[in-house]
Symmetry: C2
Subunit: 219 residues, 2 copies
């Protein structure tokens, strides 16, 4: 059961506040549908934004650290980060340019990320990440060995301070514009998986597993 949540001055939406969602369960549904996040951190007053993958374990986000080297070199623990997940659902073509929009769902999490040091927690976090991206794959793969575990970095971010923003639904035009002679509506967008491509060195006769054949982010 997620804990109740009140936004802070840093996460209370100022613009388009009607699109704000401060409900933890709604935010978690967005986090669980996505798997690519953009992590922001600061080095010498310069922000950096790096894409990477993540998984959620209750009120904790685990972030794959491959992209975090620049940040981790700076500080061993407690790096202020912003993790943002955005799901794009469509283009909203209004009659006026001004009312054009996008349908999207996004979550912004602020906090201090720390390195996962404990090998058991790291292994558990990697399994979580893998199952988050493609459920069923972990058990079918050659498991990480000690050397690989050491070579992988994982960050832990408590989901304490966050906001979500959601725009769904149809065009909203100014009343005067409804007579403007043009098409208006929504072009839905979705990430779709294509037919899996067998590796060239695959054992002959090995079938594509269902989790790859029917891959979908719909939750």
């Amino acid at each position: 059961m997620p804990q109740p949540y009140t936004p802070t001055s840093r996460t209370r939406l100022v613009r388009e506040a009607d699109r704000a969602v401060y409900d933890r369960e709604a935010a978690y549904r967005i986090l669980d549908e996505g798997f690519l996040c953009h992590v922001g951190f600061v080095v010498d007053d310069q922000p950096f934004v790096i894409p990477t993958s993540y998984g959620r374990d209750g009120d904790c986000l685990y972030i794959h650290g491959s992209a975090a080297s620049r940040m981790l070199r700076q500080m061993k623990d407690g790096v202020p980060v912003c993790v943002t997940v955005t799901l794009l659902d469509g283009l909203v073509l209004a009659r006026s340019i001004f009312n054009h929009s996008m349908n999207y769902r996004s979550v912004v999490i602020l906090g201090k990320a720390t390195l996962v040091d404990d090998p058991a927690e790291k292994l558990q976090a990697l399994r979580l990440l893998s199952e988050h991206i493609i459920p069923g794959r972990w058990a079918d793969s050659r498991q990480p060995n000690e050397r690989e575990l050491k070579a992988t970095s994982v960050l832990r971010l408590p989901i304490e301070e966050f906001s979500a923003k959601v725009r769904i639904g149809p065009v909203i035009d100014d009343e005067d514009d409804y007579s403007f002679p043009t098409w208006a509506g929504v072009v839905p967008l979705e990430i779709k998986a294509g037919t899996p491509i067998n590796d060239s060195r695959l054992d002959p006769g090995r079938e594509v597993p269902p989790y790859a054949k029917h891959y979908s982010r719909r939750r």
Copy 2:
């Protein structure tokens, strides 16, 4: 003709340097295929990462400012930002967990963003943004009026300091792992447009225009 480019110490890739692309034209192809970016900026040592749309005009990126209010309140001009664009092309399912990866193309731009003040440049930038997202739509829409132009903020970011990172192609497993008994291969991912949804107040008989009916980001 794009200017030649040499990475700085801030944009030279440290990890997975074999995936680095410092070629301006390759970076521009990525920027031109995407239209959603994640903008990073800093307020009181806290990084923020916000999704928004963008368009490119030569060596200049225009960023839609709807999400920039928090940043713009801080500083009128010359805000250090990082703009990152990520295109996700597939899941790479290796035989070992460690060699699992994603196919993706990303661009990271560092620089100082400034507000576009001149109304003519702002109008031109908005046209560019609109045409970048859905070519042909601008001419079919009710154009922005003075009030709407004032209510819209656009940021300008010169594309001077950047890097791109690209991972394409098949699974790369350790030689010892090729005998591990599992499926391996790539699950391609792509953003696909669905059938456009007519607005409920559409003029009867008005057809969906080709730019909405056959929407695609493939360039």
